[in-house]
């Protein structure tokens, strides 16, 4: 029984439901729009990880491991745009700038679909998937970390300046993001690059998104 795959399916579906619940409510504001897209991107990332985990076929597994980097690109951009709009608009970002912020993620799709510059191949070492990474993983890691740090800076800056209910919201969001991102980045970027591998390592990052899902749900349910 592939417990990682099943766990990821459950987490991905829960995140999908969360995203849909955002869509079905009457809402206003850019922050909700970007957060909903962020939830869908995370859900896509988790579900592509799930398909990779549930498949033994080399070609399918490799394809879906590459696909996880498509959603990764969108996670970075939607997270950054969300932080510019939460809890209130920090800066008006023009449609052209939004497009430019999405451009790396869009180019990333073509690179992934047309080349194998992310994952040159995969092999099973001691029951664990070991990727043979191409050069793009380093560029993607840098791009992801820059966008993520930029977004984190925005949240910390907002937290320092916020008061009352906004401060409460930012505190829980910050804790959830820091925990899940630290664990996720370690499992999905740092460990693979330094060739540390153990069974299920590839899917740990996606599984840690449950922490973020938990904090998001807590914010939605708990009303101070």
């Amino acid at each position: 029984m592939n417990y990682h795959g099943i766990a990821l399916i459950v987490i991905g579906v829960l995140e999908l439901i969360l995203g849909i619940s955002f869509l079905t409510k009457k809402r206003i504001g850019e922050a909700v729009r970007w957060y909903t897209l962020l939830i869908f991107s995370v859900s896509l990332w988790v579900l592509t990880n799930a398909v990779a985990a549930l498949n033994d076929n080399y070609i399918i597994q490799r394809f879906f491991i590459e696909m996880t980097y498509i959603s990764g690109g969108f996670i970075a951009t939607t997270f950054l745009l969300f932080t510019y709009n939460f809890p209130s608009v920090k800066k008006i970002i023009s449609p052209i700038k939004i497009f430019l912020l999405f451009l790396p993620a869009i180019i990333n799709i073509f690179i992934i679909l047309l080349t194998h510059s992310y994952v040159k191949g995969i092999e099973i070492v001691n029951g664990a998937v070991q990727e043979d990474f191409g050069f793009m993983i380093y560029i993607f890691s840098a791009y992801f970390l820059i966008f993520w740090s930029w977004g984190m800076w925005n949240i910390i800056d907002s937290y320092k300046k916020a008061d009352g209910y906004h401060r409460w919201l930012l505190k829980y969001l910050l804790v959830g993001v820091i925990i899940s991102a630290t664990l996720g980045i370690t499992a999905d970027i740092i460990l693979p690059i330094i060739h540390v591998t153990f069974p299920g390592r590839n899917f740990l990052g996606a599984e840690f998104s449950i922490v973020w899902l938990g904090f998001t749900s807590y914010i939605l349910v708990k009303k101070t």
Binding site: K26, S88, V89, D163, G164, H166, R167, L169, K223, T224
Partner: protein
């Protein structure tokens, strides 16, 4: 914005508004704001004359703006918001009241410093930002924004003084909640309305007698001697209040007497008194003042008090 030094944030004269707003750059990104000064923070509590002035400004300029935010002392904020809800019937734009529980001198007390530290204040800035967002796209009615809730003004009540959500309301009067964005409730007024009816006629000569703590007959006698144009008796036991009133109120007394209770169905019908069990106390007081401003006919006042004029009747009790 420093709530630790709240005296430095106080808006006491018109000239203080711009520097105060400049401390919150997000506000100026969100909307074009035209500040209007009516009363400073260190002045006396606002009263009906200030609220009438406020209502007139809103009525006169209703087409110029997408919405209106009113920052107000918290002590009388509920009364002010109730007054505006009756003054501006069929208002087509959001009128959002907000404020902070922290008066300019409060931060000097030690106990309050703990709360200030926990939330970095009780949300002057957060309340104002949320109120502004509501004023831009929120429900077209008079409402109160505090903490993470937007509530209908004339169905709201005060909760805890040092909580983020200072005001609450029954579920159907919670017009929006805040989390990652602002979620407007299906109970909020968003549809088309008739033309705005502005009526600033209020009769302030209304007395309130509290029968909850004790059957205060002497105080009622004293009130009757003052000849108010309307009396509101607050009680948890309308039947026993009724028995006492029958002995105290002269037969010739022809001013409206309301018996307000928070316990529904706890009274029998009476031709002499108007029982109110489906409105908050604050809304009852303001509605009686408003009704007295519209007519001095006791029967018409009784009809107005039972009518749902500005969505003030609590749901399920209509």
């Amino acid at each position: 914005m420093s709530e630790e030094k709240t005296d430095k944030n106080a808006v006491t004269v018109k000239g203080d508004i711009k520097p105060w707003l400049a401390k919150m750059p997000e506000i100026n990104i969100m909307a074009e704001i035209e500040p209007i000064f009516i009363l400073g923070e260190k002045d006396n509590e606002p009263d009906l004359s200030h609220w009438t002035k406020l209502g007139k400004i809103i009525a006169d300029r209703i087409d110029e703006f997408d919405g209106f935010v009113v920052t107000h002392h918290v002590h009388s904020l509920l009364a002010a918001a109730c007054a505006l809800s009756f003054m501006l019937l069929n208002v087509s734009k959001p009128v959002v009241f907000t404020g902070s529980q922290i008066p300019y001198m409060l931060a000097k007390k030690k106990t309050d410093k703990k709360i200030l530290k926990k939330y970095k204040g009780l949300g002057i800035k957060a309340n104002l930002i949320n109120a502004l967002q509501i004023a831009i796209q929120g429900p077209a009615e008079v409402s109160i924004m505090f903490g993470n809730k937007l509530v209908r003004a004339n169905q709201a009540h005060i909760t805890k003084s040092l909580s983020l959500n200072l005001f609450d309301a029954p579920l159907k009067a919670v017009l929006a909640t805040i989390d990652f964005g602002i979620k407007i409730s299906e109970h909020a007024h968003t549809g088309d309305k008739d033309a705005l009816k502005f009526s600033a006629n209020f009769d302030d000569n209304v007395s309130v007698v509290d029968f909850n703590s004790e059957q205060n007959a002497d105080y009622l006698k004293w009130v009757l001697e003052k000849k108010p144009n309307g009396i509101i008796i607050q009680t948890h036991n309308p039947e026993s209040a009724l028995a006492l009133l029958d002995n105290l109120i002269p037969v010739s007394y022809d001013m409206p007497i309301l018996i307000h209770t928070d316990i529904p169905y706890s009274h029998s019908a009476s031709a002499s008194y108007i029982f109110i069990d489906n409105m908050t106390f604050e809304a009852t007081v303001m509605k009686l003042k408003w009704a007295l401003g519209q007519t001095n006919n006791r029967k018409k006042i009784a009809v107005l008090m039972k009518e749902n004029i500005a969505s003030e009747l609590l749901e399920g009790e209509e």
